[in-house]
């Protein structure tokens, strides 16, 4: 950061470079928020609030850029500010062309800042903003002068020569007191020009003669000069010396001023304020000095999470060991262990929530992307988002962006039809893509839905046959046809468009999601649209689990998927169709999965017979359906630290991860979603 240079570096002895980092981050956030606001604004009826908010953002960036000496950023933002100022004062009406140019300027600012951040401030490579600036100015001045609809004119009024510039301020009072007159603003910061003139910007519907009449209450007529900004000079009520400068470009401008004589301010501040805290003694509590949020490096957060994970393991181990102790003798110790478990759980919840970020972070980039994409494709596409507040671990958020982007582009490119086709099909002219996120049990469900043409069964079948994919025939059911999309290199796009259709997409999407221990599914209705559902485990790290025993082995079920458990007699389990087994639970029949079969648990022969009579049934719910799992015993509930099996090994079907038990052994965590899916086919 030290090498980034700017004009402010030579701010005599003060090294401002240490603040650059915060400024870049802040400016980045400001630019993002400006873009979001521009995309959301209704160009036909923008609210004052929205315009003000966007103005403030540009103003803020300009202030910082000017302070830290990034002059190209300052200049460009100044142009934006001018345009936005006129907009927020309702001097201009918002048009789509303005939104476009503001968005474009935002992009240029982003790249300017990026260059500074990367120490790439090579003057020759600086973006040429002249054309952009010209366009901004054109839009900003487009409706100047006399073109304001309600018959008001824009004037420049010069008053003087005066010895006391404040006299002219009285004219401002007039405008304040008489509301219908219009606006009257100084352009000279309250100071007299070298010629002793004051200058003001005025909009009014009144005629010049009327104005002069009014002004003459305070200043003499000869001192008033009115210029209509449409270009023609009018009503020189008295000549002033030529060449009155439009701005007070004083070299001696100190850039500050006082309303009261600073000398007259009380010198000693002590004891003049009633009810103030005594200076000596207690220090001001530190909490008041800082703003309410803190920037922390990701490494520190990750380390904290790891440490909490280790703590949970140790605490689990202690809890388990404590079970063997005599409650009477070790009463205090045992209550301490219970307390420890509670504290650890709270700490873990707090820490995990640090990393949770709302999905809006992901969704935010899509309005802009879709807007540009829709323009490029010549289609009309609207984006809806649902559940932006749904939170997701930061690590997952970063990794889900690429796959989601690909899915959205697919929907826009291949899903949504052209406006003509849509109208011909009786659909609304604009297509809609809906992004949604919701928590479901221990997972998050993210969906990309479009109301486009849906998948074309025939084309996919034809393509699959062409590629010689195995198992492909006309009798395949729809879900099996849609599943072909996931094959590598598959694409039914006629031409490879710039956007997508290169055929490298969908299988990479699926792999990326699988790497996150997630799953993805495709559903489609021809003519109506398509939907891609991505399911991700919510937290990678800590989970409530139920330990179950099968033979000598221990497995963990996510407690979130466990509905109930009960003892069952083998007789109650009935076969269906020869191979499947079901059990009646209250009014419904649930498929039964014997975990000893699923996991091929080795059994001693006499064990098998022993267990013929009673077994334990655990009902789990996942993927919207329930099945009953047959296990030997329930061993308890506790928190488990989820360890990734794929870090050093690979994905195992039926298993979503592993954990370390109190005794140091590894236990596998069952993928209930996977089991449910298997049981249902």
């Amino acid at each position: 950061m030290k090498e980034v240079t700017s004009q402010a570096d030579a701010a005599g002895g003060f090294d401002l470079t240490q603040f650059y980092g915060v400024f870049f981050e802040e400016a980045g956030e400001n630019l993002s928020s400006m873009e979001t606001m521009l995309l959301e604004i209704d160009a036909d009826s923008p609210s004052d609030e929205e315009l003000n908010a966007i103005f403030r953002v540009a103003h803020s960036i300009k202030g910082g850029a000017a302070t830290f000496g990034f002059s190209d950023v300052t200049e460009l933002t100044h142009e934006l500010e001018t345009l936005l100022d006129r907009l927020r004062r309702n001097e201009l009406r918002l048009r789509r062309a303005m939104v476009d140019v503001l968005l474009e300027a935002g992009d240029v600012l982003k790249s300017m800042l990026a260059r500074y951040q990367a120490n790439d401030a090579d003057a020759s490579a600086a973006p040429d903003t002249r054309d952009l600036v010209a366009r901004i100015r054109h839009l900003a001045t487009g409706q100047s002068a006399s073109a304001i609809d309600d018959g008001r004119r824009r004037l420049r009024v010069r008053v003087g020569p005066l010895t006391d510039g404040a006299l002219a301020d009285n004219l401002a009072e007039l405008f304040r007191d008489i509301a219908s007159l219009g606006t009257f603003e100084a352009t000279d910061e309250g100071r007299l020009s070298p010629q002793g003139l004051r200058e003001f910007d005025v909009t009014t519907a009144s005629a010049d003669a009327e104005l002069i009449e009014l002004f003459s209450f305070h200043v003499s007529r000869e001192q008033i000069q009115i210029v209509d900004l449409a270009g023609t000079r009018r009503a020189d009520a008295g000549d002033t010396s030529a060449g009155a400068p439009a701005k007070t470009g004083d070299d001696a401008d100190p850039g500050y001023g006082f309303f009261v004589d600073p000398q007259s301010l009380p010198a000693a501040r002590k004891g003049t304020q009633t009810g103030s805290k005594p200076k000596a003694g207690k220090a001001v509590p530190a909490a008041n000095l800082e703003s309410s949020s803190l920037r922390v490096s990701m490494e520190k957060v990750d380390q904290l999470i790891n440490l909490v994970g280790e703590l949970v393991i140790t605490q689990s181990m202690l809890t388990q060991q404590a079970k063997n102790l005599d409650p009477m003798t070790y009463q205090t110790l045992l209550s301490g262990v219970v307390e420890l478990e509670r504290n650890t759980r709270h700490m873990q919840e707090s820490v995990m929530s640090i990393r949770m970020i709302p999905m809006s972070f992901v969704f935010n980039r899509f309005p802009r992307m879709l807007r540009d994409l829709a323009d490029k494709l010549g289609k009309s596409i609207e984006l809806k988002t649902v559940g932006e507040a749904t939170e997701l671990d930061k690590g997952l958020i970063e990794k889900i962006i690429d796959p989601l982007t690909h899915l959205v582009r697919n929907s826009a490119d291949h899903g949504i039809e052209s406006t003509d086709k849509r109208i011909a099909a009786g659909k609304p002219a604009h297509g809609t893509i809906t992004l949604s996120a919701a928590h479901q049990g221990g997972s998050i469900l993210i969906e990309v839905k479009d109301d486009g043409a849906g998948l074309n069964r025939e084309r996919i079948l034809a393509k699959a046959k062409e590629r010689g994919l195995p198992g492909v025939h006309d009798g395949l059911r729809d879900p099996e046809i849609w599943a072909l999309i996931w094959e590598p290199g598959f694409s039914t796009a006629d031409q490879v468009s710039d956007v997508s259709g290169r055929g490298v997409g969908m299988d990479v999407v699926r792999r990326n999601i699988a790497a996150l221990n997630g799953s993805v599914e495709l559903d489609s209705a021809e003519g109506y649209g398509a939907r891609v559902s991505v399911r991700l485990p919510l937290t990678l790290a800590i989970m409530d689990g139920m330990s179950i025993g099968i033979g000598d082995e221990i497995y963990i079920l996510p407690l979130g998927s466990v509905v109930e458990s009960f003892q069952v007699e083998t007789a109650k389990i009935q076969t269906l169709g020869g191979t499947g087994r079901v059990v009646k639970v209250r009014d419904s029949y649930l498929p039964v999965a014997a975990l000893e079969d699923v996991f091929q648990v080795p059994r001693l022969r006499d064990e098998q017979e022993d267990r013929a009579r009673c077994q334990i049934m655990v009902i789990v719910e996942a993927e919207g359906a329930r099945i009953a799992l047959l296990v030997d015993e329930l061993l308890g509930q506790h928190q488990v630290v989820v360890k990734n099996l794929e870090a050093n090994y690979r994905r195992v079907p039926g298993v979503s991860g592993a954990t370390i038990l109190g005794d140091g052994r590894v236990a596998l965590i069952i993928d209930t979603g996977g089991l449910v899916k298997r049981a249902r086919h």
């Binding site: 005599g12 003060f14 603040f19 500050y256 309303f259 009261v260 200076k279």
Partner: protein
């Protein structure tokens, strides 16, 4: 040690101002908008208020007006930072009871100069 309340919605500006002022021996209390500044100001001894004008929730001029209603802040020097070139804003500041203004961008030295003129 004298205390200065520095109000600006830009974190980088706040940091720079706080750094400059602390380096010169002042105690600095920061706030990101007028409302936060007003809440923090009550019950504290403040020798000078330095506030940006354009901020969300409550702007600098409104903050000035609000502070002046508190007896403890009747005489406290309040300086408004502004980039706006119109004196309309300054007129508003004056009407609200501000002591003076400072044009942005400013460099740290000018900031200290101006402050020294106002509190001793």
């Amino acid at each position: 040690m004298q205390s200065i309340l520095a109000v600006d919605d830009s974190a980088s500006m706040r940091q720079m101002v706080a750094f400059t002022l602390k380096g010169a021996g002042y105690n600095v209390i920061e706030a990101a908008d007028g409302q936060e500044a007003f809440d923090k100001a009550r019950g504290q001894r403040i020798d000078l208020v330095l506030t940006d004008q354009n901020m969300p929730r409550m702007d600098g001029v409104t903050l000035t007006r609000q502070l002046r209603t508190l007896p403890a802040f009747a005489e406290t020097p309040i300086l408004i930072l502004t980039t706006e070139s119109s004196s309309d804003m300054k007129a508003k500041g004056k009407a609200a009871g501000a002591t003076g203004w400072l044009v942005k961008p400013f460099d740290p030295e000018r900031l200290l100069d101006v402050i020294k003129k106002v509190i001793r």
